[in-house]
């Protein structure tokens, strides 16, 4: 498969849906990708299974505060330069580029890096959604080390990293990003073809484009969205889709703690009848309770769309009075493994409950 400029609207729409409330508005990432594909032509997408075991793959994306990139715009050549700086640093060439996170703008930055260097991009990512912390990526969960890594700023300054754990790497890179204007591009979590095949959430790049197409073709009131969503998710690595609630936001309070947007939202049925839906937020929507009963929890996906248009809404923009529909989607099986639940189970976010897969909840 090749991704061209005409795929980008659907990719952006699908990626906002899978961002489960996080990730910000990917408009600028979409624009930069559009410019890069216009300049260099379409980018090749390859199935992870087609890679030789000894191939060398690196993930590329933006790290920092999305709000900052509203003023400090990325450059078309920046992602490829980040990759070049990485190759110089490690003293070898890269065979393919992968994404950290399919949810949000980092679904697209790998395309910019790959096409600028004439490389293919992997059909897959490290989350299958959006999650707030780097150690929650499937790559480190599967034993891939974060470094050697390179972070590259808007002016071409760069830093190299060598750290033990992804948690430490995340702290270091965030301080560098803050010192470099709030947003940097990184090449990190390098791995072999074998490691990639063992840890990647496969097929998510092509799936996100397909998902975006389905949402686009079913624009309009969200009460007719469930069936098309079930059709597209059922045969995928995700599976179950449920419509949790339709109503309006009657309360939303979040505040920044440790750099994360943390808080709660409450949604009430339009007619005010029946129990409310309560949502817990840490950048993403993580836990949904209907009248105190858990109806979906991380690592399963919780997605909110605008009731009138079916456009996915991110947590930062969700506000009092918003009319919405809430969906839950089962996560890929990788995230239900013991190793993954050690870092992404509800308790890892401070919720005192065990994880129960969506389809086992009544």
């Amino acid at each position: 498969m090749k991704i061209n400029t005409h795929h980008l609207d659907d990719l952006a729409l699908g990626s906002v849906f899978l961002a489960t409330g996080g990730g910000g508005d990917p408009h600028i990432q979409q624009l930069i990708t559009h410019q890069a594909l216009k300049q260099y032509g379409p980018v090749d997408v390859i199935d992870p299974q087609s890679l030789p075991d000894d191939a060398y793959v690196v993930t590329v994306g933006c790290v920092g505060a999305p709000t900052v990139s509203l003023e400090l715009l990325p450059s078309v050549d920046e992602a490829a330069q980040t990759l070049e700086a990485f190759e110089d640093h490690v003293g070898r060439t890269v065979d393919a580029v992968a994404s950290f996170e399919i949810g949000g703008g980092n679904s697209m930055i790998p395309l910019v890096a790959a096409v600028g260097r004439g490389l293919p991009v992997i059909d897959g990512d490290g989350m299958g959604r959006a999650l707030p912390e780097a150690q929650m990526m499937s790559y480190p969960i599967g034993g891939v080390r974060p470094t050697p890594a390179v972070a590259y700023d808007y002016a071409g300054n760069f830093a190299t990293f060598s750290t033990d754990t992804t948690e430490t790497y995340e702290r270091h890179i965030r301080s560098f990003a803050m010192a470099a204007g709030g947003m940097v591009m990184t090449a990190e979590h390098p791995m072999t073809g074998r490691q990639l095949k063992d840890t990647v959430i496969p097929g998510t790049l092509s799936f996100t484009i397909e998902l975006g197409r389905v949402i686009r073709e079913n624009r309009g009131q969200a009460d007719t969205l469930l069936e098309p969503l079930q059709e597209v998710f059922a045969p995928s690595i995700y599976g179950e889709v449920r419509q949790l609630f339709i109503g309006k936001v009657i309360d939303k309070a979040t505040r920044i703690i440790g750099g994360y947007d943390i808080g709660e939202a409450t949604i009430e049925a339009f007619d005010g009848e029946g129990p409310n839906l309560a949502l817990n937020i840490k950048n993403e929507f993580l836990l949904a309770k209907l009248g105190g009963r858990v109806v979906a929890s991380v690592p399963d996906l919780i997605v909110i769309v605008d009731y009138e248009t079916s456009t996915p809404i991110n947590a930062e923009r969700l506000r009092y009075g918003h009319r919405v529909a809430v969906f839950a989607i089962g996560c890929p099986n990788f995230y239900r493994s013991e190793a993954a639940l050690k870092v992404v189970a509800p308790r890892c976010f401070g919720f005192d409950i065990d994880y129960v897969p969506l389809e086992k909840l009544s």
Binding site: A65, L72, L73, S75, A155, G259, Y320, R323
Partner: protein, 521 residues
């Protein structure tokens, strides 16, 4: 006395207010020549009411003219768009995501220069003399006079925009320049787009304002003239020569503000029922609740704030199905007076249902005498249910709120609304927009990214409020009446815990005897 005029797509409404009292009101069809239409409305209302020209203190106008110019791609000037932000944003020039026809209409003359600031006040890059000179030389060679300038983080530090603007003004003395920081709000591309759209309208705005002031002068009207902005506040006519883009979407805002004035309610749902749609909006503290989605004008993303309006396909001309269970969204619109059953036409509309129910006398009621009782009752129930459900969705929280009905179609509501804690259909509801224009005050807004570590919260809010106040005074407000109506603090994820975006909006009364008023009179 004040005159308020609202120029809509189909109707131009005018009212004369004496203090709070409505002295006269008229509704006329909007003419193709908008200035001609406004002056005609003015002449009619003055003649009808017998009010003397000398008794008029101010004229307030709400107009969609500048929005329409953008949407229809007419009357637009060539614009040089300068972005200061290199080395960031290479390969992402201004207007990169614009519709091709609009970018072509403006000429796509874009320049990217080094300079600007980072979020923490650190310099992004230094301005470079050679780059500035090269841009000026090119602009001068192309004969472009309308120039938009935007730099990274200019709402926090506007020095690069001002420096480059001054250099251009020195080299091209008759240049008309828009600096993006005047459009507040973070989001470089959206702010830049607002500045470019504004710049493309400067020459047109100059002509419109001049011809309008001339027309008033000819009638011996020496009072100042104000134009409505999208946030329900006013700017002096001369200010419009510099900021025409601030008039975008003032129509729905004026209707909400008018409903507020007619009822005295500060918190309410306002339903403006026209011929084709019902526009539902929310009044909070007397001002429209704003929408929080990116506002698209003529295909361009901008950072303008617009009222949050839910439009549904229900109006006085909406088609009714033969079982009465479906109403709208198709409508005969302004052809109601020929196509509706009671007017001798063949189409069953909501107005025919109203007449058949016996709740209104309109046209020929024998034309609807054959409609079955069941059909009439079902259709009425459908109309009320549509309104109830949609009003319910606009209500903040479970809060019981009164509903104000305005617009010509308000008569369709015959049986009350369950969604309303109390229902108001004020007298003069048909000209609510013109009233909204007539009562508007003057506002100002400012926004900054601050760290509560460097500055206390109170000091930060005071600083942003002071900036907003200066803007309001410049726009013609009386400094002593200015008060903050909205303070918004948004913490920034993934940054220092104390990083917050602070936005303040202030409003005040029109300054009497101000410099601007003297200039206008």
């Amino acid at each position: 006395m004040r005159i308020g005029i609202d120029v809509g797509g189909t109707h131009t409404d005018a009212v004369i207010l004496n203090g709070d009292e409505i002295v006269a009101s008229i509704k006329a069809l909007t003419s193709a020549d908008v200035v001609g239409g406004i002056t005609a409305a003015l002449d009619t209302i003055l003649a009808d009411s017998g009010v003397q020209h000398s008794e008029i203190d101010t004229v307030m106008i709400g107009t969609t003219q500048f929005t329409n110019a953008i949407v229809e791609r007419r009357e637009l000037s060539s614009v040089a768009a300068i972005r200061i932000g290199l080395p960031s944003g290479r390969g992402m020039p201004p207007m990169v995501d614009w519709p091709e026809d609009l970018a072509t209409a403006l000429g796509r003359h874009t320049y990217q220069l080094h300079g600007g600031y980072l979020y923490d006040g650190f310099k992004l890059a230094n301005l470079r003399d050679d780059e500035i000179e090269a841009a000026i030389t090119d602009i001068a060679a192309k004969g472009i006079k309308d120039i938009a300038i935007a730099s990274a983080f200019s709402p926090m530090n506007s020095a690069p925009e001002k420096d480059v603007g001054a250099r251009i003004k020195a080299a091209i003395p008759d240049a008309r320049i828009t600096l993006s920081y005047n459009f507040g709000r973070l989001g470089l591309m959206e702010r830049e787009n607002a500045a470019i759209l504004n710049t493309s309208l400067l020459s047109f705005a100059d002509r419109v304002v001049s011809s309008f002031l001339e027309a008033l002068a000819k009638r011996g009207l020496k009072c100042p003239v104000y134009i409505s902005q999208n946030d329900g506040t006013l700017m002096s006519a001369d200010f419009v020569r510099t900021y025409p883009a601030l008039t975008f979407a003032s129509g729905p805002t004026n209707s909400l503000r008018g409903a507020c004035k007619l009822t005295g309610l500060q918190d309410a749902i306002v339903v403006d029922i026209g011929g084709t749609t019902s526009d539902i909006g929310v009044l909070q503290d007397g001002f429209p609740r704003e929408s929080n989605v990116v506002v698209n004008i003529g295909g361009v993303r901008t950072n303008f704030r617009m009222p949050d309006i839910l439009a549904i396909g229900l109006g006085g001309g909406s088609l009714v199905s033969t079982d009465g269970k479906t109403v709208g969204p198709q409508s005969v619109g302004h052809k109601l007076v020929t196509e509706g059953l009671v007017f001798g036409g063949k189409t069953l509309t909501t107005t025919d249902i109203l007449v058949a129910s016996g709740k209104a006398e309109l046209g020929d009621k024998t034309a609807v005498a054959d409609l079955g009782q069941d059909l009439v009752r079902t259709a009425q129930a459908t109309i009320h249910r549509m309104l109830d459900q949609n009003i319910e969705m606009m209500k903040p929280g479970g809060k019981a709120l009164p509903v104000i009905l305005v617009g010509g179609g308000a008569v369709l509501v015959t049986d009350g609304l369950k969604a309303a804690s109390k229902l108001y259909i004020p007298e003069n509801a048909g000209v609510a927009n013109a009233i909204g224009a007539a009562i508007a005050q003057i506002g100002g807004e400012s926004e900054r990214l601050v760290s509560y570590r460097d500055m206390t919260r109170d000091a930060a809010i005071a600083k942003v409020t002071a900036e907003a106040t200066e803007r309001a005074v410049n726009a013609g407000a009386d400094r002593h009446t200015i008060r903050a109506v909205d303070i918004e603090e948004t913490p920034i994820p993934y940054m220092d815990e104390a990083s917050t975006r602070v936005r303040v909006k202030v409003i005040g009364d029109i300054a009497t005897g101000s410099k601007l008023q003297k200039a206008a009179s």
